[in-house]
C-alpha cells in the first residue's frame, strides 16, 4: 500500500523533469561522425573519382542494392561507368564502406532522404558523387599504389622507392 503511494508520488514528480523528447523537425540532434547514413562516393585530393570499379562493395552488400559497371579512361584508369544504389533496399550496414579499398564509398551522418515516390530512392552516380573527400582526407589510391595511369610516373608515388635497374643488380 505504502509502496503504491510512493510510486504514485515519484511518477507525479516526473511532471517537473526535463523532457527526453527531441522535437525533431524544429530541433535536430547532433549525429556522431561515424553515423551510418546516406552513402556517398568521394573524390581524391586531385578532384578525381576515387572509385576504381572493383565491385567489392556490390559483392559485400547483403541486400544487393549496389550496382555498377567499371570502365577505363584513355590512360587505363578504371572508374565506374554507372554507379547505382537503391536506397529503398539499402540497410545502412556499412559493409560497402568496409569493403572499399580506396575509401571511395562512405556513409555519412545524414538520414533525411525520404521520398514520396519509391523510384526516387534509386540514386545514380551523379547523385552519389560528392565534391569533397568525405571522412578520409588526403588519400589518393593511385599515389600509393598501382602502375602509371596518368596520375604519377613509375617510382614517384608516396612511400614508393625508385625503380631498381635489374641489370645493375650485381652481387
Amino acid at each position: 500500500m505504502f509502496s503504491n503511494l510512493r510510486s504514485l508520488w515519484i511518477v507525479f514528480l516526473h511532471l517537473f523533469r526535463k523532457r527526453e523528447t527531441v522535437e525533431y523537425p524544429e530541433e535536430k540532434t547532433e549525429l556522431p561522425a561515424r553515423w551510418r547514413g546516406r552513402i556517398v562516393l568521394t573524390r581524391d585530393p586531385d578532384y578525381e573519382e576515387r572509385c576504381v570499379g572493383c565491385y567489392l562493395c556490390a559483392a559485400a552488400c547483403p541486400v544487393d542494392c549496389i550496382s555498377l559497371q567499371a570502365t577505363e579512361d584513355e590512360n587505363g584508369r578504371r572508374y565506374p561507368e554507372f554507379f547505382r544504389i537503391n536506397f529503398s533496399r539499402c540497410i545502412f550496414c556499412g559493409y560497402c564502406e568496409e569493403a572499399c579499398p580506396t575509401y571511395a564509398i562512405q556513409l555519412i551522418p545524414d538520414f533525411e532522404m525520404a521520398e514520396y515516390d519509391r523510384q526516387n530512392l534509386v540514386y545514380e552516380k551523379e547523385d552519389l558523387l560528392i565534391e569533397g573527400q568525405g571522412k578520409y582526407h588526403g588519400y589518393n589510391f593511385y599515389k600509393e599504389a598501382g602502375v602509371d595511369f596518368g596520375v604519377k610516373k613509375k617510382g614517384e608515388g608516396e612511400n614508393e622507392n625508385k625503380p631498381v635497374d635489374v641489370r645493375k643488380l650485381m652481387p
Partner: protein, 318 residues
Amino acid sequence: MNEGVLHTLVAFGILVVLLTIAAGLIWLERRLLALWQDRYGPNRVGPFGLFQVMADMIKIFFKEDWIPGFADKKVFVIAPAMLVITILMSFAIVPFTPEIMVVDLNIGILFFLAMSSLGAYSVVLGGWSSNNKYSLLGAIRGAAQMISYEVFMGMSLMGVVIMAGSLNMTDIVIAQKKMWFIIPQFIGFVIFFIGGVAEAHRLPFDIVEAESELIAGYHSEYSGLKFGLFFVGEYLGITLISALITTLFFGGWLGFGFLPPVFWFLLKTFAFIMVFILLRAALPRPRYDQLMSLGWKILLPLSLLNLLVTGAIVLYFQ
C-alpha cells in the same frame, strides 16, 4: 422561456459538455501520461495538440465498421451503446450546481448504483457476443470484477448516506456545508475510490482489458465506431466516478465565494480525473485472483466496519 424548454436545454447542454469532455480526456490522458514519462505527448495538431481528438475522430469515422461473421450480431451492436447509455444516465443525478442538473431524484445514489450494475452487462455481452475466447475471458473477468466491486462500492456510500440522512445528491452536498465528508468518511472514500477504479475498469484494475494477456479483452473484436463508443464510454466512466467522488466526499459545488459553483465542481472533478490518469501511469496491474481477494477479504469487511462505526457514532450523538 418556460420551465420545460429550459430544462431540456440544460439536459442537452450537459450531454454535449460531457461528450466533449470525454473526448477531450483522450487528449488529456495522452498528454499527462507523456509528461509523467518525460515525453511531450501529442502536440502537433493544433494548439498544444488539442485537435488530436478531432483527427482521431475523423480517423475512427472512416474506419471499416466490421462485424465478425461469427459474432452474435444484435448483441454485438447493442453492447457498446449500453455502456455509454448507462453512464450517461448516471450523470442525470449528478448535481453540477443547484441549478444545473438533469433530475433531482430522491433515490439519487441508488439510481447510480443501479445504472453502474447495468453497465456490467455491456462488458459481459460485448465479450460474449464476440464469440472469441479472449473476449469471453475478458467478459468473465469483467462480470466477476464489476459485480463484486459493486457490492462494497454501494456499502462504502452508505456511510455518506447515514451522515447526510438522504439518498438525494443535492441533500448530500448541502449536508457537507460544515465539513466535507472526506474527513469523517475517509475509509469510505478510499473504498469508493478503489471500487470506482474497478468499476470504470481503469488501470490498474483493467483486468477486463489486460492488453498483455487478453489482447483487448471484451472489445478485441470491435472496430470503428463501436470501438469508439467503448473508448468514449471508458472516459465517460472516469468522469462519472470523479464527479461522484467530488459530489459525495468533496462537497460538490461548494467552495469559497470568489468563483462560481460550477467552476469548483469542474476543478475538483478534473483533479480526480488526473489522479485516475496518474494511477494508470504509476501502478502495475494486479493478478486477477489478487484483485478478487483484495475485494472480498479486505475491502468488504472494511466497508462493513465503516458502516457499523458510522452508524453507531451517528446514533450516539442523536
